[in-house]
């Protein structure tokens, strides 16, 4: 009886998964079709698959440069978050210092007040006051340290047993040494969780790099592709194919990273990142 129910649950979940994955399948198939075929039969191609659309999108937008820009934007945020996020998470979890309570309260508020709502003052500051329009620095600055990542680090450091720290302190290890040789090696799984959640932020972000870069040679792929969709799609021979090819290139790195590290993408590790 129980087993029968489980089979039905699995079947229902599989049908749901097929619905969820269908747009991804359609993205890949559409990117490989020579001629656009939006009929239902077109979803099951019987031949005529080609990589031509990838060459097409590459000739219309600078795909390589856009990928490099996405990489610099994402890489900059990853480095800053890994470095300063670990330090902040460790301090918030393990060290008693003046101002800890205030910092934590502000962190909680950051989770509720989203970045988009502050887009006007941030635009005024970065573009007008500091003159950082059309620069990688201006692109990275508002995203530099991912607060959800700081929460995840803090949560992992909190879960380490207290004895570990008092033992190391008794051995005469300083705070820096305890962090480096005792605490950090133990939170390595958190690094992968943080890598994943931090990566998808800047890699997928559209609004901010769209506002801050007018120079096409600096735009990350999400912006390049969105501009292509809204401006010049009409001129390509198979605009659908070229757009979908661009979408595959934009989606692939995040999906690949996620599939590789999905084990570290779990609620117990992440929910701390949203509720604190």
């Amino acid at each position: 009886m129980r087993g029968g129910r489980r089979v039905w649950s699995t079947l229902a979940l599989l049908v749901g998964a097929a619905v969820f994955l269908f747009p991804f399948y359609y993205m890949v198939v559409g990117s490989l079709q020579a001629k656009p075929d939006t009929s239902v039969r077109g979803a099951i191609p019987t031949g005529g698959l080609t990589l031509h659309n990838y060459a097409d999108i590459n000739s219309r937008v600078d795909l390589v440069q856009s990928l490099v820009n996405s990489g610099i934007f994402t890489g900059g945020v990853l480095v800053m978050t890994m470095l300063f996020g670990v330090l902040a998470g460790y301090a918030l979890a393990r060290l008693h210092f003046r101002g800890r309570g205030v910092l934590f309260a502000v962190m909680l508020l950051v989770q509720i007040v989203p970045f988009q709502l502050l887009i006007i003052p941030i635009y005024v500051l970065i573009v007008r006051t500091y003159g950082l329009a059309d620069s990688y620095l201006g692109m990275i600055a508002p995203f530099a340290i991912n607060s959800a990542a700081v929460f995840v680090f803090r949560q992992f450091f909190l879960q380490l047993p207290d004895d570990l720290f008092s033992a190391a302190a008794l051995d005469g290890a300083g705070e820096l040494r305890i962090l480096w040789s005792v605490a950090l090696p133990l939170v390595r799984p958190a690094m992968l969780t943080v890598l994943l959640i931090t990566f998808i932020g800047p890699w997928n972000e559209f609004l901010w790099p769209f506002l801050v870069t007018k120079n096409q040679s600096l735009q990350p792929l999400a912006v390049t592709l969105a501009n292509y969709i809204s401006n010049i799609a009409g001129r390509a021979t198979n605009p659908a194919g070229a757009i979908l090819a661009g979408a595959v290139v934009l989606a692939a790195p995040a999906v690949a990273l996620f599939v590789a590290f999905q084990k570290h993408f779990t609620g117990s590790e992440l929910s701390s990142g949203v509720k604190g």
Binding site: R5, T10, A12, L13, L14, G16, A17, F20, L21, P23, Y26, T38, S39, G42, A43, F84, L87, A88, A91, L92, L95, H96, F97, R98, V106, L109, V110, I112, V113, P114, Q116, L117, L118, I120, P121, I122, Y123, V124, R128, A141, I145, E175, I200, N204, F206, L207, L211, L225, A226, I229, A247, A251, A254, Q262, F265, G267, S268, L270, S271, V274
Partner: protein, 295 residues
């Protein structure tokens, strides 16, 4: 008596050094801009050449009056309410049911989890590209519907544009709610299910009486996150419905902020929209926390 340094800086002053880069970051891209947004919204603020000395007089609530009386802004707030009415119940029901089912299966669990999470990790721009073709006039959805296809088609139909965006976002974000519910389900005591079974409760009854109350704090979180997502909408109305179309029917407040503040050069009224949104999000977060966690 503790030493002076300890009383002023705390027991482990190294913590200040560790936390300073992050604290400076939060001050620079969160606290200061939040204050600046409020300041701009109370002044006649416009973009000027860098370094130019310009007069920006205090105008009191004039920007707020402009914003609240503007039909485009009113429309965008109604649109976001429509978005929430569709998105919130759909997200809560679907993700709780799917999480419960995922929690009970043993086979293919990893594959199923990955399938439901993958839209969440993928760029909106890439996914919007696919939906543009699926829901286009000659797209596959209309192909399947045949004579039942709506006219005008989904994305250019003023009654359907916002529901399609709500559906898109529900699909894209559902994985994260499932993930939160899956974590919450691990904390619901097995004993409660067993005693419900002993009392002869049906499966549906124990879902309603044990599971639903057991994951209430996750429900609060899901509702708050949905509200934040709604307040944040930009990419979908910009790209999927071609600039909040048709005729503003799917314009979101952030999209109107972008139009007014950056395209038309009125950062003061745009900042007022931002401040109103911050207040609304905080109010809704507090209310849903109160309502859902009253006991």
């Amino acid at each position: 008596m503790r030493p002076v340094a300890e009383r002023v800086l705390g027991k482990q002053p190294l913590g200040i050094l560790f936390a300073t880069p992050y604290a400076v970051f939060l001050a620079a891209v969160f606290a200061y801009p939040l204050g600046l947004a409020v300041w701009i919204s109370f002044h006649d603020y416009f973009f000027a050449a860098p370094g130019a000395q310009v007069d920006r007089p205090f105008v009191g609530l004039a920007n707020y009056a402009d914003v609240l009386g503007d039909p485009a802004v009113q429309r965008s707030f109604v649109n976001v309410a429509e978005f929430l009415v569709i998105n919130v119940p759909l997200t809560v029901v679907l993700s709780l049911v799917l999480a419960t089912a995922l929690n009970s299966v043993t086979r293919l669990r990893t594959f199923l989890r990955v399938s439901y999470y993958v839209p969440y990790v993928t760029a909106s721009v890439a996914l919007v590209a696919v939906w543009l073709f699926l829901f286009g006039k000659d797209g596959m959805v209309n192909g399947i519907l045949g004579p039942l296809a709506p006219d005008p088609s989904w994305l250019v139909n003023s009654g359907l544009a916002m529901p399609v965006i709500a559906l898109f976002v529900t699909w894209k974000q559902l994985g994260f709610s499932i993930l939160l519910y899956l974590a919450a389900l691990q904390n619901v005591s097995r004993d409660l299910y067993e005693s419900a079974a002993v009392d002869g409760a049906s499966r549906a009854k124990s879902f309603w009486n044990v599971t639903v109350p057991g994951v209430r704090s996750a429900t609060t979180l899901v509702v708050i996150l949905a509200t934040i997502t709604g307040a944040n909408l930009f990419t979908e109305p910009y790209l999927l419905t071609n600039g909040g179309g048709p005729d503003g029917a799917s314009a979101s407040p952030v999209f109107v902020m972008y139009q007014k503040g950056i395209e038309q050069g009125h950062p003061d009224t745009a900042a007022a929209i931002g401040v109103l949104l911050v207040i609304l999000v905080l109010l809704i977060s507090l209310t849903s926390r109160k309502l859902l966690e009253r006991d």
